[in-house]
């Protein structure tokens, strides 16, 4: 009943704002072409005037100027509005939280759990969590969801999700492992970075040992969940990790699962890069990197991508003394692959375009380094998609990618602009959520013949 009412509301809203009611009713991937649009592909290039985007079977077929509209597809006139790929948020807690401060509704961290690396967010993602609908309305179509470290340096395993209004949002479970080094990691490990490094190295060694003894990388096991493999083979006597956690780190130490390392300080980033000397198979991704610009050359040389917080410019902690809004621009200039990310709780994923736009604004300040408009859009679409290993699947309006498309009523990076329509895999999405229902209820504040609760 409620679902039906929401869907009806979605149709009405879309019809009113974009005049494409036929498409809005479509529930399955359809073939369509958006014409007369300002198209931004999301690959770093500049927007294209009077562009066309064609989708078939939920995939992008073509996008650009002078693209012919195939016969037999629905044609949507965007009326000069902007069209971009859906926003890709890496990393975030979407689907793990209803209300941040309501602990019962918040699965971000498990600070009293006996497990850590083995924790797997994919089993807890709730597509009906209110922030998911709000983010979808803000143009977010994909996300890499990561847990927050609770009582150990390992937060657990993150998942890639889509934000379509479906029952099964997880498209890639156990996509990466997340570890805290830096100040927070130090605190969790026992009070110093020294302890965090020792814990991490010990954990990876245990995982390597477990893999060697149990043959967890044997053919047929690689595709499954290594935690589920039972082993009767000899267990080392000096193990610190639970078997479940150690098994979860086998894909990390063997390079099958990326390791996201949250660090900000230049020295911590160097210490992270140095892990590769002992564990050469590690596939590192640095998260945070507030001082990344100071080691940008090393990050680029190591080909380690960064999911950065865009606008950190305060020495909020001693490990972010050199924070500057030029950080992302300088890393990009040095050849680092940098996405804008880290959206947890109050940092709503829908802010991503504002942050990206700010990096364009920064570029206009003498002495500062920012991004071009195309680079800024890429930093919240195709680049995060690439970093989370999904660049071939979504993140840009390139042929073959998922038809995740957002129509905006203005420059998508501009704060006054808003979302008009959202498609995931070619399917038009509802833009109705708790907030829009409240907005409609209170648009005219005076009470009618019945209280607001009946309106």
């Amino acid at each position: 009943m409620i679902a039906r009412r929401i869907r009806r509301g979605a149709v009405a809203l879309l019809a009113a704002t974009v005049a494409m009611p036929a498409l809005a009713q479509t529930q399955a991937p359809a073939d369509w072409a958006i014409v007369n649009a300002r198209v931004a592909v999301g690959d770093g290039s500049a927007p294209i005037e009077n562009g066309v985007v064609v989708a078939r079977g939920g995939k992008i077929v073509a996008a650009g100027a002078g693209v012919a509209v195939p016969a037999g597809v629905r044609v949507i006139d965007a009326g000069g509005k902007w069209v971009t790929p859906g926003l890709v948020i890496a990393v975030t807690d979407l689907g793990l939280v209803d209300v941040g401060a309501v602990s019962e509704s918040n699965d971000d961290d498990a600070d009293k759990a006996v497990f850590n690396a083995a924790l797997d967010v994919s089993v807890a993602i709730d597509p009906d969590a209110p922030p998911v609908a709000v983010s979808r309305t803000g143009g977010v179509t994909r996300a890499a969801v990561a847990p927050v470290a609770g009582n150990a340096i390992f937060a657990g395993q993150g998942a890639v999700i889509d934000l379509a209004a479906t029952a099964d949002p997880v498209t890639h479970a156990r996509a990466f492992q997340y570890v805290e080094l830096g100040e927070r990691g130090a605190s969790l490990a026992g009070g110093s970075r020294v302890a965090a490094q020792a814990l991490l190295r010990n954990a990876l060694r245990e995982a390597r040992e477990l893999e060697r003894r149990a043959g967890l990388s044997a053919p047929g096991v690689a595709g499954g969940d290594p935690r589920m493999v039972s082993s009767v083979q000899g267990q080392a006597t000096d193990t610190l990790l639970t078997r479940f956690d150690a098994a979860a780190l086998v894909p990390v130490v063997t390079g099958r699962q990326p390791l996201y390392v949250h660090v900000d300080r230049a020295a911590d980033i160097r210490a992270t890069l140095a892990l590769k000397r002992e564990f050469p198979a590690l596939r590192l991704v640095v998260v945070g990197a507030a001082e990344g610009w100071r080691v940008a050359g090393e990050l680029a040389a190591a080909r380690v991508p960064v999911i950065a917080t865009a606008l950190t410019d305060l020495p909020g902690r001693f490990e972010t003394l050199a924070a500057t809004q030029s950080n992302v621009g300088r890393m990009k200039k040095a050849g680092v692959k940098v996405a804008i990310g880290n959206f947890y709780d109050g940092e709503q994923p829908r802010y991503a375009p504002q942050y990206a736009g700010n990096l364009v604004g920064v570029a206009r300040v003498p002495g500062a380094t920012g991004l071009t408009w195309g680079e800024a859009l890429a930093a919240i679409t195709s680049v995060p998609a690439e970093i989370i290993g999904e660049g071939d699947h979504f993140g840009s309006l390139t042929p073959g990618r998922a038809a995740d498309v957002v129509v905006w009523d203005g420059d998508p990076l501009e704060v006054t602009s808003g979302v008009v329509a959202v498609y995931v895999d070619g399917v038009a999405q509802s833009l109705v959520n708790h907030q829009t229902r409240l907005r409609d209820r209170y648009r005219h504040p005076q009470e009618g013949s019945l209280p607001k609760a009946y309106q």
Partner: protein, 466 residues
């Protein structure tokens, strides 16, 4: 400076000693009526702020948003002797002694004002040693003054200036307490002392808080309040005491001065403005009734995420709503926040303020206002740019009681001016120059006009373009 800590301490000792010297007797009673009033120093930590030197400047050719709702295309703004001398269109004559600044393609606004900041009391770096914003030892602490916690070396001040064009800000104690203490209004200038930043003659504010925070903090300690009804009970009992204190004070019958009661009595006397943290519509309505019960006025509700539900009530009671553009859902009482809040309030005729409560939000109050403008436009509430600018200039000045001095570009007002390199309601705009009382304190084009706090000296990132 002229005033030392020794003077301050001496003054306080004198005031405290007085009641001992006033014993019984008719003659003494006469003394009692006059003595405390004359000896009690109401302003023991006075502002020592003085405008820095400036030169007469004329910004010509820019789009001017005057902060009061006016817009002048190809405008002229004249600033000299620390004050706005005149604003007008291209026909306004520029005296030969003024340095002309070409504002073509640029925009001018009054200095940005943040009515809700914790810079200095929760400074960067946010280490435990710097947690000076909440005196979490009693649910009511009207006796504390935020200015005694402000660290003038907080690097956040310079970011607010350089990125946000903020020239004035109110520093509030936190919301752990029902009554958190006195706020202080500062001019955003680097200074060795807090007194050197204090906005001259600004009224004090008093922080109050509804809702989840006080009941959580004290409930967790097993003491009152642990519920919303507890919140109101403690508030009302405190006001009853304050009313009695004020009655005695007015009658000259005080036996002992009380620092906290003094602040509350001054609220009841209308000298101190109440800044009330309150999210929910139902609680704001109760606070309005409580204010009527005890005879005080709420100047602004802060964090008023549900204000859109009671715009009529706020307008009727002449209370400003200080809101974020779109913070939402992070706590239960923020669950009904909507991005159209500010626009709906403007539509209802309410005094709207965009506030930050955040060391990053304060760097982008202009963008937050623009977001709210866009969200309003999409539901058919078109608010012109020049009205939106008022949300972060004149309206906060009004709720702080300083609107006669700053908040808009009018002849005789403080020369608090921002020249933006684009429309401030665009994400791409940044302050190019910021003047405080006519002194150029930030210039994006001049590396020497960028403040670096003592804390940052010699550390990584010092002097970087933030």
């Amino acid at each position: 400076m002229g005033r030392t800590a020794g003077h301050v301490l001496a003054g306080l000792a004198l005031a405290l000693a007085l009641p001992l010297g006033t014993s019984a007797g008719l003659a003494k009673a006469k003394d009692e009526k006059t003595a405390p009033a004359s000896a009690w120093n109401e302003n023991p930590y006075p502002s020592t702020y003085r405008a820095y030197p400036g030169e007469p400047v004329a910004i010509v050719g820019a789009t001017v948003f005057d902060g009061a709702g006016g817009r002048i295309d190809n405008g002229t703004v004249l600033v000299a002797d620390g004050k706005v001398q005149a604003i007008g269109d291209a026909a306004l004559a520029v005296p030969a002694t003024y340095r002309r600044i070409d504002g073509t393609g640029k925009f001018v606004t009054p200095g940005v004002i943040d009515i809700h900041s914790h810079l200095g009391v929760y400074p960067s770096p946010g280490v435990d040693a710097h947690q000076d914003g909440n005196e979490m030892t009693s649910p009511t602490t009207p006796q504390v003054w935020a200015e005694h916690s402000v660290w003038p070396q907080d690097p956040g001040f310079s970011r607010a200036l350089a990125n946000g064009g903020v020239t004035t800000l109110q520093i509030l104690p936190g919301s752990a307490n029902l009554i958190g203490g006195r706020s202080v209004v500062l001019k955003n200038v680097p200074s060795r002392t807090v007194q050197g930043m204090k906005f001259p003659d600004a009224p004090y504010g008093m922080k109050m808080a509804c809702g989840e925070n006080p009941k959580r903090v004290y409930g967790a300690k097993g003491q009152m309040p642990s519920t919303r009804m507890g919140n109101f009970a403690v508030d009302r009992q405190t006001w009853i005491k304050a009313a009695e204190y004020k009655r005695k004070r007015d009658a000259g019958k005080l036996e002992e001065r009380d620092l906290g009661m003094e602040t509350l009595a001054d609220v009841l006397a209308g000298k101190i403005l109440v800044q009330n943290h309150c999210y929910r519509a139902d609680e704001m309505a109760f606070v309005i009734d409580m204010a009527r019960e005890f005879g005080y006025k709420v100047s602004a509700f802060h964090h008023a995420v549900e204000a859109y539900k009671i715009g009529d009530l706020l307008k009727q009671n002449d209370i400003c709503a200080a809101v974020w553009a779109d913070w939402w859902g992070f706590k239960m009482e923020a669950f009904d926040g909507i991005p159209e809040n500010a626009a709906l309030l403007q539509d209802a005729g309410v005094c709207v303020i965009i506030h930050s409560d955040d060391d990053y939000g304060i760097q982008r109050l202009n963008q937050e206002a623009a977001k709210a403008q866009g969200d309003g436009r999409r539901i058919g509430i078109a608010i012109p740019d020049e009205q939106v600018v008022r949300w972060f200039t004149l309206n906060p000045a009004k709720a702080l009681g300083i609107d006669a001095k700053t908040g808009s570009l009018a002849a005789g007002k403080m020369g608090d001016v921002v020249l933006w390199n684009g429309n401030p309601l665009s994400v791409y705009a940044r302050p190019e120059k910021v003047w405080v009382d006519g002194a150029l304190l930030y210039d994006a084009l001049d590396p020497k006009r960028r403040p670096v706090s003592d804390f940052e000296l010699g550390l990584p990132g010092e002097g970087d373009v933030k």
